[in-house]
């Protein structure tokens, strides 16, 4: 039942009917409709309640400016809150619902607040709920529930969003006459052009305004121009795409609604696509938004922008009313009167505050039968609560800015208003430029450009069709020329230019009583901010427009004050006794219209949230049923549970295999850096705390790196491959940082040192073979290296082959057992691993993961940088003075002499043995001397590592304890989160094989 649909006309496709529901009511529209036009066609007048007073609200505009028609679309995971019905393309099966009302917009319980409206002035919440502060949480919960717009989906978003990065010579934003002319001019020159428009169709004002361009109609010119652009190979056309952010270096963000307008989306296609555009030049052709007028009860459903009324009539063939009054301070809305008349809507009056305006358009309206032009007059109030039923018209005394004479009632169900036009300067302002107030035209215009952008057409105050086209063509040509293209001769368009009578600026229509007593004159419909609120704010001392915004909520919300801001600023100016442009604008921030989180996230979620790095043996670990642990970006095997085993059992089994037999682990994730050049050893002397120049070729050494602050930064074993070459290893997580750190010193501080650093982390697969039987296993796969204990001693390396693959074998140990680390080219990593496994079968070789590695090293008191250290720990704190050279300089050395680094009572690295012996302390547990001491209990340290040692059959922990090195044998207490207190004895951090006999075999 499209009761308000005109029998013919419009750009809709009448042979493609679409069904949709609104608040459960079945409705019908056509392809080419927006949800707003379809709702109007179905006679829906009230579709929302206002934010604060729950007043009934209807559709006001026809685009991004719409403050009221915010609807919840779709269901379940697909639902989207606060969608502007004016920008939602209708699709079959669309489900829409009102948001800020219960049970519905026609009858809304929340509307009781309207009765207390007088008690809810600007700043009401600040003033009322300030005290007592601790109750704010409670207040907030109810206030938020009472306000609230739509609701977020509770389910994960089932749709896909993606991002794309593009570069272009000329980005044209807005595809009205100016934008199309700009794109044509730039495109013809061969420049790479992107033309975007937020609507489903290009054309801007040509979609609802009849025009003549050259010898053709506006519609024909539009069709031909878009077809010509589509033919150009370097031109990209993006309808349904909003340029929402203009950032530095001409970087702009666009969001394309790819399948939002399709019923049920489209398989395989993203719902939306975020375009990240680097444009060499930008042409802003974003047009202008009509300004409403501020008068009493101007928020009643049925009060609409005149341009929106024309749009619904001409583009969508919808009659927004049956009996209309037009209220305008300028000529453009006179066309609306003609449009309505032509569509069969009775236009009973045009009310105009100007005295006897003269122009061809005004004369044309005066000639129409039945239209009374009431000049020198204003609409100052509106009748009707749920919908306009009439208006109050009175004379206007411009000089005194008061009403004059008697007020009369005119019955109508539609009031089309126009207070002039606000150029859409949002992107210009976002680019860093400042919009300037033009006193003559009464609007903000683009100021001096800060980036490579220019404005053309309505957004530059060029409101006529010919001036828009010509300005667009010039801007497009200039932009192309600026990027090195030759756009040819300057183009001008032939289009009729109609003389217009000057507008009369009218920021607020006087009321019959004082503003604060009169019915509400709304400035910002979305936030229910009235003229009285603004005046109150100024009276209470809020003079800066930014303060007024925050006090009254003017310009907040999803529409960011696209309708109300300029009127609001002028009203504030008047209250301050200033010129209208004096308070300036609030900051225009991205996004121009709201953007979904989905589009911002793109594909960077789930498995693509962060890179997952895998070693060459990863498929083997997976096949073996390993549980994985994230270490940096790497996936490392954590433990390999066998059938029926829990983690604890698996780790105990793996630990005992390493201590008593042989075990194997994937150590490929360790950072590896090839350090090569005549000054390699001298460089390492400066990077590590210990000395490297004396290390013999073929030998390995453990090294510690400090930051400039003297704190432990990284560690690892490095080997001297040759006089001028080292194979350095770093921690898994520290690899990239260490390489960057060394490059920084090499390139910026010590460029005279001759050496090169090359990351070879990914080149080598590293297989650790650990345990008393490791040599036996290795013998079976390695024939060209003498593995004899004396000839291949601990802390040395050999080159040879393992399983026939060229290998570097290091005899080092992070477990305390006899151990070898086999490095082979990663392409053969899994093959060699499998060969070692096969060789180890007879010895019961057991793969083990990071958890067992941690237990084994903790038994030996070996630190893990980043676990036992936290950036506040020096080598001395760790009891590792032995590795700090006294004879040479190195990074961090001078900081070690700082007073704070040598004071008594620093936290020092110790071991802890718990009582009872099977109680494993949680890592991070705080340690105290007396858990029953008065609060705050002095804390003396914390547990950094803690495990159950199957080998020692005791819980062991590593900890940092104040003055710990001197407290051996003392007892500390560990209060747990569950209230229990565990006692622990401070011991040496080396729990197992203090003499190091086990690895020296």
């Amino acid at each position: 039942m499209q009761s308000r649909r005109l029998p013919n006309g419009g750009r809709i496709e009448r042979d493609r009917p679409l069904r949709f529901t609104f608040n459960g009511r079945r409705c019908e529209g056509y392809a080419g409709d927006t949800l707003a036009s379809a709702l109007l066609a179905n006679g829906v007048g009230v579709l929302a309640r206002s934010f604060k007073y729950h007043r009934p609200r209807g559709i006001v505009g026809s685009g991004a400016e719409e403050p009221n028609a915010l609807l919840q679309l779709g269901r379940d995971g697909y639902t989207l809150p606060n969608q502007r019905a004016t920008q939602v393309d209708l699709y079959d099966g669309l489900v829409a619902a009102s948001v800020n009302c219960w049970p519905g917009p026609q009858f809304d319980v929340g509307a009781v607040t309207s009765a207390f409206a007088k008690l809810l002035p600007a700043g009401f919440y600040y003033k009322t709920f300030m005290w007592p502060q601790r109750f704010w949480g409670t207040y907030e919960r109810y206030i938020r529930r009472a306000a609230g717009l739509g609701h977020c989906p509770r389910e994960p978003d089932p749709d896909i969003y993606e991002k794309i990065n593009v570069h272009c010579d000329v980005l044209v934003i807005g595809a009205g006459p100016a934008g199309i002319a700009a794109a044509l001019a730039a495109g013809k020159s061969g420049a790479r052009v992107i033309l975007v428009d937020e609507q489903s169709e290009f054309g801007g004002s040509l979609l609802y305004r009849e025009a003549e361009i050259g010898a053709r109609s506006g519609a024909e010119w539009l069709r031909e121009s878009v077809a010509a652009l589509a033919e150009m190979a370097e031109v990209t056309l993006l309808p349904r795409t909003t340029a929402f952010g203009y950032y530095s270096h001409n970087w702009l963000a666009l969001v394309e609604r790819v399948t939002d307008h399709l019923s049920g989306g489209a398989a395989g296609q993203p719902r939306q696509r975020l375009w990240r555009v680097r444009a060499r030049q930008v042409v802003l052709a974003t047009g202008a938004i009509e300004r409403p007028l501020v008068f009493c009860n101007n928020d009643r459903p049925g009060v609409m922008l005149a341009s929106a009324v024309s749009t619904y009539v001409k583009r969508y063939a919808v009659r927004p009313g049956t009996r209309a009054v037009v209220f305008t301070n300028n000529d453009t809305a006179y066309q609306t009167a003609l449009d309505l008349q032509q569509a069969g809507v009775a236009v009973v009056a045009v009310v105009d505050p100007r005295d006897n305006p003269r122009s061809p358009l005004v004369s044309a309206v005066r000639r129409q039968q039945g239209i009374e032009v009431i000049d020198g007059a204003v609409v100052h109030d509106v009748f009707g609560r749920m919908h306009v039923s009439g208006v109050k018209v009175a004379g206007f005394d411009a000089r005194a800015a008061t009403l004059s004479g008697a007020s009369r009632r005119i019955d109508c169900d539609l009031l089309a208003v126009s207070g002039g036009w606000n150029p859409t300067v949002h992107l210009h302002a976002q680019s860093g430029a400042r919009a300037l107030f033009d006193e003559q035209r009464g609007c903000f215009l683009p100021g001096q450009s800060v980036q490579a952008e220019r404005s053309a057409g309505g957004c530059n105050g060029e409101f006529g069709l010919k001036s828009s086209l010509d300005a667009g063509a010039a801007a497009g040509a200039d932009a192309a020329r600026a990027t090195g293209f030759k756009p040819g001769r300057k183009q001008t368009y032939k289009a009729p230019v109609a003389a217009q009578a000057e507008a009369r600026l009218l920021w607020r229509v006087p009321a019959q009583t004082r503003v604060s007593r009169a019915p509400k004159q709304f400035v910002d419909l979305q936030n229910d901010t009235s003229a009285a609120d603004l005046e109150l704010a100024v009276r209470e001392g809020f003079h800066s427009i930014e303060h007024v915004k925050r006090y009254t909520a003017l310009g907040f919300g999803t529409d960011q004050g696209k309708l109300g801001n300029v009127n609001g600023m002028a009203i504030v100016a008047a209250a301050r006794g200033d010129n209208p442009g004096r308070p300036g604008t609030t900051t225009f921030r991205p996004a121009y219209t709201p953007v979904t989180f989905g589009a911002i996230a793109g594909r960077e979620l789930g498995e693509f949230f962060a890179p997952v790095r895998k070693t060459a043996m990863h498929p083997w670990h997976e096949a073996r049923g390993a549980r994985f642990e994230d270490v940096g970006q790497w996936k490392r095997p954590w433990f390999y549970p066998q059938a029926g085993e829990d983690m604890h059992q698996a780790v105990n089994r793996e630990c005992l295999a390493a201590r008593n037999g042989v075990a194997i682990m994937d150590a490929s994730t360790l950072g590896k850096i090839d350090v090569r050049g005549p000054d390699a050893a001298a460089f390492l002397d400066r990077i590590y705390t210990n000395s490297w120049s004396a290390l013999a070729v073929g030998r390995c050494r453990y090294g510690l790196m400090l930051g400039e602050d003297g704190m432990v930064m990284d560690d690892g074993v490095s080997a001297r491959l040759a006089e001028d070459r080292f194979h350095m290893t770093t921690t898994t997580g520290g690899a990239a940082h260490v390489l960057g750190w060394m490059e920084r010193w090499l390139q910026t501080e010590w460029p005279q040192l001759r050496l090169h650093l090359t990351s070879v982390t990914d080149q080598w697969a590293t297989i650790g073979v650990v345990g008393p039987k490791s040599r036996d296993v290795l013998r079976k796969v390695c024939s060209d290296i003498d593995l004899d204990a004396a000839r291949f001693p601990f802390m040395s390396f050999r080159e040879g082959s393992v399983a026939g693959v060229r290998a570097r074998v290091f005899r080092i140990s992070f477990s305390g057992e006899l151990g070898f680390e086999i490095n082979v080219a990663a392409n053969y990593g899994q093959g060699v691993w499998e060969a070692v496994m096969a060789a180890g079968v007879e010895f019961g070789i057991t793969p083990y993961g990071t958890e067992t590695m941690h237990v084994l090293r903790a038994e030996k008191g070996f630190i893990i940088v980043g676990q036992d250290t936290d950036g506040s720990v020096t080598p001395v704190d760790l009891g590792m003075d032995w590795i700090v050279s006294k004879r040479k300089d190195f990074l961090g050395r001078r900081s070690l002499a700082r007073a704070d680094c040598v004071r008594e009572g620093r936290k020092q690295f110790v071991g802890l043995l718990t009582d009872p012996p099977d109680k494993v302390l949680p890592e991070g547990t705080q340690l105290v001397d007396d858990a029953n001491a008065a609060t705050p209990v002095p804390m003396i340290g914390h547990v950094t590592s803690s495990y159950y040692s199957a080998c020692l059959q005791h819980s062991i922990a590593l900890a940092l304890v104040k003055g710990g090195a001197k407290r051996m044998g003392e007892t500390v207490q560990a209060p747990l989160a569950d209230g229990h207190v565990v006692s622990a004895t401070i011991v040496d951090p080396v729990f197992y094989d203090r003499e190091g006999a086990r690895h020296n075999v």
Partner: protein, 190 residues
Amino acid sequence: MSEIELRTPLVAVPGLPYRGRDIEIVEVASQGHVNLRGAARNAVFKDAVQATAGVSLPLAANTASGTQPPCALWLGPDEWLLRLPGEAQAATCVDALDAALAGEFFAASDISSAQTVLRLSGAHARRVLSKGCTLDLHPGVFGAGRCAQTNMAQATVILLPLADAAGGIEVVVRRSFADYLARWLLDASR
């Protein structure tokens, strides 16, 4: 010679090679990769590279001496990537350079196992890459003869445009990131 099976980084990624509409993704595995460091003005160094690998080192930033191995890609004022037809050639090349340049200040590292190559071809190749890369990949700007080090999604890569008419591009990626990147590209090619 080794009995051990060579496993390329992407051998286990389901969906590779991928042939979609206007897009093909394949792993170009087992090529030789050598990271080369040395002074461009050192004639001994340059001549040895020319003699050993058969390529002359490009000196202009972000250029490549060719699009197919053997070729050299400029990575920095004193750093190149040598691409050779197979990993055996890389090992030979490194050994030969070490021998020829004994006493010279340079470094050649065989990194054939450290990285792999994904070749994207077809009319949509550059569009797919643009989803994860902020560089201008327009063929007029980034054509054959150029190369670039950049980020693709969250992996660091080297891009090498091919000389084919469809504007294919090869992506050199570190081994440990290859699985992530391949899955990402497959997703982006849907």
